[in-house]
Subunit: 142 residues, 4 copies
């Protein structure tokens, strides 16, 4: 299963060259992860209150293929590549009018929040939801 959403490219995303300033793409990546968790029933607020946990990004690999401009509609698509004891590897792709815009691999880590930041095991009910987004080709051969 894939999680998909769309993002309208706005004036505030764009730089003096008229194209999206790349840190803004990372805000869009973060929004996508946030919406996906909420869609699965685990809003960031819920994870914080019920599990005392958050999912900070610990590793990010992103390749930018073509630029976007104000008014473009970015199609985003998320699958899970791998799920470990406390980490989750996501693949997030985006395209605009069938042109790939960026491909990102994002590693999140389930951690405690507060003064001490420590790895936690992903709770079973969250793991169960995430597994539905495991990339099918990978899942088939695992």
């Amino acid at each position: 299963m894939r999680y998909s959403r769309e993002e309208l490219i706005r004036f505030r995303h764009c730089d003096p060259a008229g194209i999206v300033f790349y840190p803004r793409y990372l805000e869009i990546v973060n929004d996508t992860v946030e919406d996906w968790f909420e869609h699965m029933g685990f809003a960031f607020k819920t994870m914080q209150q019920r599990f005392g946990a958050g999912v900070p990004t610990v590793n990010l690999n992103i390749r930018f293929a073509s630029p976007c401009r104000q008014g473009d509609r970015l199609q985003l698509s998320l699958v899970c590549n791998r799920i470990g004891d406390s980490s989750i590897v996501l693949s997030i792709r985006s395209a605009q009018a069938d042109n790939p815009v960026f491909e990102a691999e994002v590693v999140l880590c389930f951690t405690s929040i507060g003064e001490r930041v420590e790895k936690l095991s992903i709770p079973a009910e969250i793991r169960h939801q995430i597994q539905q987004y495991l990339d099918e080709t990978i899942a088939a051969t695992a």
Copy 2:
């Protein structure tokens, strides 16, 4: 040779967990690249006016080691790992009080600006400056 600078972590960098929101680190990475080019005598404005060119980021790989909070002073250090015909691979490391914060590998591509975005060869005078920042261990064995 290394290019170094410091960044004060501010309220605006931090998220509800009280730590730097990671897209803000990419703004800091971008500022570091911007300052480095200016330090070499090629401010972004100069590159635009003299060469009709910019250096968009085409690939980014970043690993976050430990969180930063408001008031921390982030030490940044940049070297060049590789320089191709139009691309530049930079390694940017950051630490706070001797703790590594992030390690980034950033690939920039020298490109024309305007409606058409095309690769350009890096002009000799810019290449000459950049070569002084080639990582010494790599440079020694090349």
Copy 3:
């Protein structure tokens, strides 16, 4: 007539106190103006291409009434208070679950874009659209 839209408050909007960092509200105000112009048939891109013009904000007065947090849904409502030869005075109000969040008065100025930034008269077709959003109580007594 009013122009209305909704904005979901996200993690990226919020500060270490867990509430929206106020410059983010101004990004939301800007998005609202951008959407309103697009809704009227004059996307920023269109204004730039057809009229060589933009609508920079020249004055802003904003009062913050109550804080918002991640997951809140902000209701935004825009009317035009006044339209001059080149300036437009907008009133933008926002509420969350019937609590007022902010009230802004924004003055935009229709200006040329490029190296020289000069006031322009608002073209008749844009003026015609904007007049439909003139605040009724003001319009009635004008």
Copy 4:
């Protein structure tokens, strides 16, 4: 007494028109207030830990006089116009090469932090420091 600082206008501040996107000026205003409090010995972190308090912005009035571009050096100057039991009215002016860029009046309110946000009286030691920045012409006639 005035509090002054300088801000370098960067690529990330600028929009597709090549000028500073105005919500970025509000980030600069916030940084200025943050630095001023730290300069007086009351960093935001200190106020939070010692007084359980913060100084959210409750009202903002800003007039933009002329645009700034990448590479400009913005001179900022802050005085206090008025200090009440829990509120502080600041005047922040900025100029670039003797051209006024913006004039802001910012009202801060000393408040408790946490789930309940309530007004607090400004502690005597903070009030004492702030009074040194009271605008002299106003102070002289008060």
